[in-house]
Amino acid sequence: MIRLGNMLPQGFLIGIMDLVNIMGLEKTSEWLTRIGEKLGETQGPGFDGAPEGDLNYLPMCPFTDELIRFIDMFGERPEEFKRIVEYVTEREGSNKENVERPAVVNTLCLLHHGYRKKRAELAGAETLHLACKCSVPELPPAYNMEAIEKAGVTKEDVDKILEKGVCVFKFIKRE
């Protein structure tokens, strides 16, 4: 239900859909990442998530509630969102050198990864995004296998954490 006081997040999601159609997938995905980075800069150095051994994870996705609300309103998961995820997965997946790429399962993963990575960078650390699971049903988890390997863990280790969380990552302090 939209009330004036809570229309901003929903308006932002509609804006993402529109931007895909106006500016295209590349610009939209860059824009989302840049927003995350800018917000990250305002907060300074920092590390997201709850520690689990050498890894960190988020027990729940902070965007789920708004996303589900949005999907409830629009019936289906918007086509534009799917296209962004596919585009980023394909583009980033083809660049195996970029181990710091996000494991994207929904559009807002870009926003979050930009934010998390910027703050870790300010703290002098590299960010490995190992995997992400969407709370929206019927979507498989996304993995970054190169990041998993570099983190020195296995997919099974990551899956174990995904049983109780939605997003797994590791920060490595730069020398």
């Binding site: 300074g44 920092g46 703050r119």
Partner: protein, 410 residues
């Protein structure tokens, strides 16, 4: 009170406090390998005050250096940091941390000067961090609502937005004391801080007017307001008051905003003692049982019990001061203090509530194991988070105040 035992506890509190300061300066909330091996500005500030009270000014300074260097670009001090000063917070704004750091810094400055403030006070240190101080003050004032002149927060001392989101008394008192502290520092450095003083006075007046209930003859917990800039706040989505008793309603006097003998404070403390002193276990609970959010079971908290003893010490009521401090001494285990104490029965009740509601998360399972394996479990007690460093600092402060007032020759 068994003074020998109290002295032993005091000495071990100082030892525990110092041992739990990382070489980088941060005081762990609980030791590495236990529940809270992070640095929380709230706990950390009280630890700094404890170190100052125990005469370890160098450790207080180290703690201040750590925190002042970890300020966020916005001027905020985060909810939680790692030992390197990186923000690892996972909760929304807890603005009392900003107030407490400024307050602790002003106490440090005062302590370094002592009786020879003009010549000895560590102005150089404060001057080095003057920009940080300015930003910390600005951040507090950005969160001040100009309609009611109170500071808005989401979380406060209990990290419980259901009762603290809005204009909460502990957050307002710490921020107000922090503003006054910044004024004192500014004056010592010859800065123009007239505007800060005016702002601090506005907040103080608003606390005394809006967070005090004359009919209840008590300070109240919170005016719940969702948005800091709501104007008029009467139309805010949350607009309501939390009038339940809470141990932190003693904060106006604790942070020096009113006199300990002020009737408003005397009556507030009376209400706290009547309603929160635990009839079964002794000691002071932090808020009413029905709030049902004491991890590990409802029960008295060591640091709030120590804290309130300061009131009785200040008004020369030795019997009551002893009642409070003696309980802390008796509850210590191996001369160390837990966060709070519950009974096995209350622990099981809490466990049932959280299990049925399906809100028992992983970290709580570890806590449960630790409670059950603590030696006091077999005596029927649930010792929750053992040790927590904060109550050690509070006991240091409270016992020093007690000694100074009642045992001056000691």
């Amino acid at each position: 009170m068994d003074l020998k035992e109290a002295e032993k506890l005091y000495r071990n509190c100082v030892k525990t406090l110092l041992e739990n300061q990382h070489p980088n300066g941060g005081f762990y909330a609980s030791p590495p390998g236990t529940r809270y091996p992070f640095i929380y500005p709230r706990d950390h500030s009280i630890c700094i005050l404890g170190a100052i009270s125990a005469g370890h000014l160098d450790r207080g300074k180290l703690g201040l250096e750590f925190m002042l260097a970890a300020q966020k670009p916005s001027g905020e001090f985060s909810q939680r940091y790692d030992v390197d000063g990186n923000d690892t917070s996972y909760k929304d704004l807890q603005i009392d941390g900003n107030g407490l750091i400024l307050y602790a810094l002003s106490k440090y400055l005062k302590a370094t000067g002592g009786l020879f403030f003009d010549s000895l006070a560590d102005r150089t240190f404060c001057l080095q961090y003057w920009e940080v101080i300015e930003k910390a003050v600005d951040f507090i004032l950005q969160n001040k609502n100009d309609e009611v002149n109170l500071i808005h927060t989401i979380n406060s001392i209990h990290e419980y937005p259901a009762y603290e989101h809005g204009f909460e008394i502990y957050a307002n008192c710490t921020c107000c004391a922090g503003l006054f502290g910044a004024v004192e520092i500014g004056e010592a450095l010859g800065k123009d801080v007239g505007e800060w003083r005016e702002q601090a006075e506005q907040v103080r007046r608003a606390i005394l007017e809006r967070l005090y209930s004359p009919r209840r003859r008590s300070f109240i917990k919170c005016i719940r307001v969702k948005y800091k800039s709501s104007d008029p706040i009467g139309y805010d989505a949350f607009a309501s008051s939390v009038i339940d008793v809470d141990a932190v309603e003693y904060s106006p006097a604790l942070f020096g905003l009113i006199d300990e003998h002020d009737l408003r404070n005397i009556n507030t403390v009376k209400r706290i003692d009547e309603l929160l002193w635990d009839k079964e276990l002794g000691g002071l609970n932090r808020y009413p049982e029905l709030w049902d959010r004491n991890n590990g079971g409802y029960g008295p908290w060591l640091h709030f019990t120590s804290q309130l003893s300061n009131h009785y010490t200040s008004i020369d009521d030795q019997d009551m001061a002893e009642k409070y401090l003696d309980w802390v001494v008796k509850m210590a285990h191996d001369y160390m203090l837990p966060e709070h104490i519950s009974t096995v029965e209350r622990f099981e009740m809490w466990l049932e509530d959280y299990t049925n509601a399906k809100i028992l998360r992983d970290s709580k399972l570890t806590m449960i194991e630790q409670i059950r394996s603590h030696p006091k479990w077999k005596e029927g007690f649930a010792y929750v988070t053992f040790p927590l460093i904060w109550p050690h600092a509070e006991f240091i402060i409270a016992f020093n105040n007690y000694r100074k007032r009642f045992l001056p020759e000691n």
